[in-house]
């Protein structure tokens, strides 16, 4: 079934003056309940229920280790899915100058920031009972906090520039540079002395977890990935609709 699409054309300019670069047409997405978002939130809730009631308590760390099942998937989705998506969309935008890629990069950056916020909130709560401190300025924690500020800066930069093409170009460059921190964050536990533990899953050898914990972690990975996709889709729809309003306002001036 083909959906009809509503588009607003860019403002018409007199033939005597050179026409500005026309923004790509934006279709108005469908409204109603966002079922994917509901499923994503329910999946994360199910992962948390599984972690709380159907996963054994770790003998050395106690129940606080269950923070692992929300902290690690949030970090993996933000650092290895969200921010690379920002970089890819930004890089391809610089090549093709397609506004849809700019909106994809913006949306992925904002959703990734939420996931990184979850990482930075849960990390200290896990660190306090295990390390005896809420925070330590070691390489991994500091670099992750620094990346969080860079992504905040990316979004602030976007809000500070009115010209559409200039905003897209500047933020694409920043989006590409931000992702360069990700490999340093991943390798920081090998390169520096740090309290943060080594990877137990994303490493060359097999995961060093009992099967029950591995299954819960894999379930959580799937749930958080689904939530990321759902939030990204909702954010992208919002960006498209906001663009329609901006085009309509420009046409009305």
């Amino acid at each position: 079934m083909s959906n009809p699409s509503f588009t607003l054309s860019p403002p018409v300019t007199p033939a005597a003056t050179p026409a500005p670069a026309a923004p790509a047409a934006v279709a108005r997405p469908a409204g109603g309940i966002d079922l994917l978002l509901v499923v994503g939130l329910l999946a994360v809730a199910a992962a948390m229920v599984r972690a709380v009631w159907f996963t054994p308590i770790e003998a050395m760390q106690g129940a606080a280790q269950k923070i692992f099942y929300v902290h690690v998937p949030s970090a993996v989705v933000a650092l290895y899915l969200g921010l690379p998506l920002v970089a890819i969309a930004s890089g391809v935008y610089l090549w093709l100058k397609d506004d849809r890629l700019d909106r994809l990069a913006e949306s992925a950056a904002e959703v990734s920031l939420v996931f990184m916020t979850a990482v930075l909130v849960t990390g200290p709560i896990w660190g306090k009972p295990i390390w005896g401190t809420w925070w330590t300025w070691d390489a991994r924690l500091t670099l992750t906090l620094f990346l969080w500020f860079v992504v905040v800066g990316y979004l602030v930069l976007r809000g500070a520039i009115d010209d559409r093409a200039q905003r897209a170009r500047y933020s694409a460059v920043l989006g590409l540079l931000a992702v360069l921190l990700v490999p340093f964050i991943h390798l920081s536990v090998y390169m520096f002395r740090t309290l943060h533990p080594m990877p137990v899953v994303l490493k060359p050898s097999a995961p060093s977890l009992p099967p029950e914990m591995t299954h819960t972690l894999l379930f959580a990975f799937a749930a958080f990935t689904l939530l990321f996709v759902a939030l990204l889709r909702a954010r992208l729809r919002y960006a498209n609709e906001r663009e329609l309003v901006a085009l309509a306002e420009e046409a009305g001036q």
């Binding site: 959906n3 009809p4 699409s5 509503f6 607003l8 108005r28 997405p29 469908a30 409204g31 109603g32 966002d34 978002l37 939130l41 994360v44 809730a45 948390m48 709380v52 308590i57 770790e58 003998a59 050395m60 760390q61 106690g62 129940a63 606080a64 280790q65 269950k66 923070i67 929300v70 902290h71 949030s74 939420v114 916020t117 979850a118 909130v121 849960t122 709560i125 896990w126 306090k128 009972p129 939530l227 939030l231 909702a234 954010r235 729809r237 919002y238 609709e241 906001r242 329609l244 309003v245 309509a248």
Partner: protein
């Protein structure tokens, strides 16, 4: 010390509540922002592709 795991469940309870607040709060903010921009589009006369057909 009795040799069992330490009793620190309050930390993970707090973390899970905060996680629900972060993700649920962002989803709510996103839906509210979208509803607001859709109201503007409705005023502009853009057809809602999600509205039930008659």
């Amino acid at each position: 010390m009795n040799g069992g795991p330490p009793d620190n469940a309050a930390y993970f309870h707090a973390a899970y509540v905060l996680i629900a607040f972060v993700y649920g709060g962002y989803a709510a903010v996103l839906l509210r922002r979208r509803a607001r921009v859709r109201q503007v589009l409705d005023r502009l006369g853009a057809p809602d592709l999600g509205a039930p057909s008659r």
